[in-house]
């Protein structure tokens, strides 16, 4: 059983998606339990795989028994084992939380919604465990296509936002495919481990540089790295709440993982960082991403859109960390990938809980929420602390590593932008909390005036989100603190072994 974990991670949700789609026609009530079982099994297999990889080292899984360069191999080491476990668990928690939201918003579309949901997670898990460059493209498109549909299900401007995402996402995926094509021309192989071997004698070839650059641009487009971020804020801002809290934490993070995988496993860090100027340029782009993401977020009057711009800034943290060219930066990037998935999940899920109750996430809808939804707001506060980087949460430690990496590389711009964007995050979240804490709950502004509202607040009845949403939210908030406390072992056991020796 345990040697089949890499396949089970992908097969169980895939089968579950087929069953959910059939159940959608026959017994819509079965859709949710089937999806839950499929993702639960995937999460269990991913956890088992993580334990196994930590105990015995990297695992290579030959699909159908074909030897790697010919068949498709799944290759799992510490890096993707932890990302797979993260994706599976976040998707599972979000699935539980999505139950009530989908019941309220799309009661007639339960079957299609959960089919797409489970397929999207299948694609993400597959992308994480696969060791084959073309297989990765196919799984990337499975996730993206289901993602477009999940976003397009929303009302209002969601279909237009989704179509724009589709255009840019398709260009990104096509660029990735083109880059893989160049690699295939020069090596005749698609297996990542095999590619790494065949590419070493070819370093210095222009075709290889072109392949690397094209692949990177494609991936940046998919992860919304700053100049290519235009699709993200609308797509995640207008998406239905349960979709946003699935895609926003996971999709960008999985793409950052793929970038790191290409940088360290297909190519080598020596190749990636041979041109110091190129590395510097990418870090400067990351600086632009952090500053621009923070500034655009300041201009928003809607919680979800503000969070979407924070995601743009967070992508800058990770890409910049990975390109700093030292161990601390890479460690910070991987650690931040883990923390950021959980904190983005936490804040988007809190926004989903707020939407469930107030039917809106604009700043006007947030008034008086601390009294009405104390638990949700407490979790949002925990997520905000992590995004700002306050010590007991994981966000502090990953930023600590990133800043130390920036200092070691002597890249003051990166350090400055990181601190600047953290400070802006403080402003952003305290503005939200000010509205939610001090302003009287919405609607009756005839009641207004400055004198009365403190007393008025006491009478507001508790209107918390349903328990099926609150419990996953609490788990995410506690997870943030747990990740922070577990930083030491996380870095020592999990991350340091996979940092390539070539990094100074």
């Amino acid at each position: 059983m345990s040697e089949q974990y890499p396949a089970l991670i992908v097969i169980t949700p895939l089968l579950a998606a087929l069953l959910v789609s059939a159940a959608g026609w026959l017994r819509p009530r079965l859709c949710f339990p089937l999806a839950l079982a499929g993702l639960g099994a995937a999460a269990a297999a991913a956890t088992g795989l993580l334990v196994q990889v930590l105990a015995t080292g990297p695992v290579t899984y030959r699909l159908g028994g074909w030897e790697p360069p010919w068949g498709i191999a799944y290759y799992v080491d510490n890096l993707n084992a932890v990302v797979a476990a993260l994706v599976a668990w976040v998707a599972l928690f979000n699935l539980v939380a999505s139950y009530r939201a989908v019941m309220t918003d799309y009661p007639e579309k339960i079957g299609p919604y959960y089919t797409l949901y489970v397929l999207a997670v299948t694609g993400m898990l597959g992308m994480v465990v696969t060791g084959d460059a073309f297989n990765l493209y196919v799984l990337l498109e499975i996730t993206s296509l289901t993602g477009y549909a999940l976003i397009g299900l929303g009302g209002g401007r969601a279909p237009l936002a989704s179509l724009n995402y589709l255009f840019l996402g398709t260009i990104g995926a096509s660029f990735y495919l083109l880059g893989v094509g160049y690699l295939y021309i020069v090596t005749g192989s698609l297996n990542m481990a095999d590619l790494a071997k065949l590419l070493t004698p070819l370093y210095g070839s222009l075709a290889l540089l072109a392949a690397f650059a094209i692949t990177l641009v494609g991936l940046w487009m998919k992860m919304a790295f700053f100049p290519l971020h235009a699709w993200l804020p609308n797509a995640y801002g207008f998406a239905p709440a349960p979709t946003a809290s699935l895609l926003a934490p996971l999709m960008t993070k999985v793409m950052v993982y793929v970038m790191i995988r290409i940088m360290i496993s297909v190519f080598t860090v020596e190749f990636v960082l041979q041109e110091v100027l190129v590395g510097q340029l990418v870090v400067w782009l990351a600086v632009a991403a952090m500053v621009a993401g923070a500034l655009f977020a300041l201009g928003q009057r809607d919680l979800k859109r503000m969070l979407a711009y924070i995601v743009v800034a967070e992508v800058g943290y990770m890409v910049g960390g990975a390109w700093l060219g030292n161990r601390l930066g890479m460690t910070g990037a991987v650690l931040h990938l883990i923390n950021d998935a959980v904190m983005t999940f936490c804040v988007f899920l809190a926004a989903g809980c707020i939407y469930q109750k107030t039917r809106g996430t604009s700043f006007e809808d947030l008034r008086g929420l601390f009294k009405k939804m104390p638990w949700t707001m407490a979790a949002l506060a925990a997520g905000a602390m992590a995004i700002i980087g306050v010590p007991p949460t994981g966000g502090f430690f990953s930023k600590w590593y990133l800043i130390r990496g920036g200092l070691e590389a002597g890249h003051w711009g990166f350090v400055g932008a990181l601190l600047f964007s953290s400070l802006i995050n403080v402003v952003l979240f305290f503005r939200v909390f000010e509205i939610a804490f001090f302003e009287p709950s919405g609607g009756d502004d005839s009641h207004g005036g400055h004198g009365g509202h403190e007393e008025h607040g006491g009478a507001v009845a508790l209107a918390e989100a349903p328990l099926s949403m609150l419990l996953p939210l609490m788990a995410a908030a506690l997870g943030l603190i747990a990740l922070g406390l577990a930083t030491g072992p996380l870095v020592q056991k999990l991350i340091l072994p996979i940092i390539p020796a070539g990094l100074g």
Binding site: Y137, L145, L166, T170, S174
Partner: protein, 133 residues
């Protein structure tokens, strides 16, 4: 200048794919109608499919079905790889074609949803409506 002419002539498959790709990209950026943008996207994807198909082709190569398989008499043991085109990029593109058809389907479904809401497919008119609301 003259040394580029053979480059142009012998590697014309690359020029064709780049040209097609740019036509597609231009349509996606410059066209106002959403369906035309989708057509541009399809041209873009087809360009990459053509690129892959062309790198598998060979002068004088035939379809990759082995004529005299091993174990059938005397001269059968030798398989001349040079005589066959490379089937792998073609097989990859079968998958890519499926992906591009699926993308087209999702895009058209989204366009129907947009049309139901805005009663138009011209991007500037849609943006106008959004600005007014």
């Amino acid at each position: 200048m003259e040394e580029y002419i053979p480059l142009l002539l012998t590697k014309y498959n690359y020029w064709v794919y780049i040209t097609l790709m740019m036509i597609g990209l231009w349509a996606m950026i410059a066209k106002n109608n959403l369906v035309k943008k989708i057509v541009g996207m399809n041209i873009f994807q087809t360009a990459i499919i053509l690129f892959y198909v062309s790198i598998g082709a060979k002068y004088g190569g035939t379809i990759p079905i082995i004529q005299h398989g091993p174990g059938h008499g005397h001269g059968a043991a030798q398989i001349k790889a040079l005589a066959y085109i490379n089937p792998l990029p073609h097989v990859l593109m079968l998958t890519a074609i499926v992906v591009s058809v699926a993308t087209l389907g999702v895009a058209l479904a989204l366009v129907i949803k947009i049309h139901r809401r805005h009663r138009t497919l011209e991007e500037d008119e849609i943006l106008e409506q959004l600005r007014e609301s």
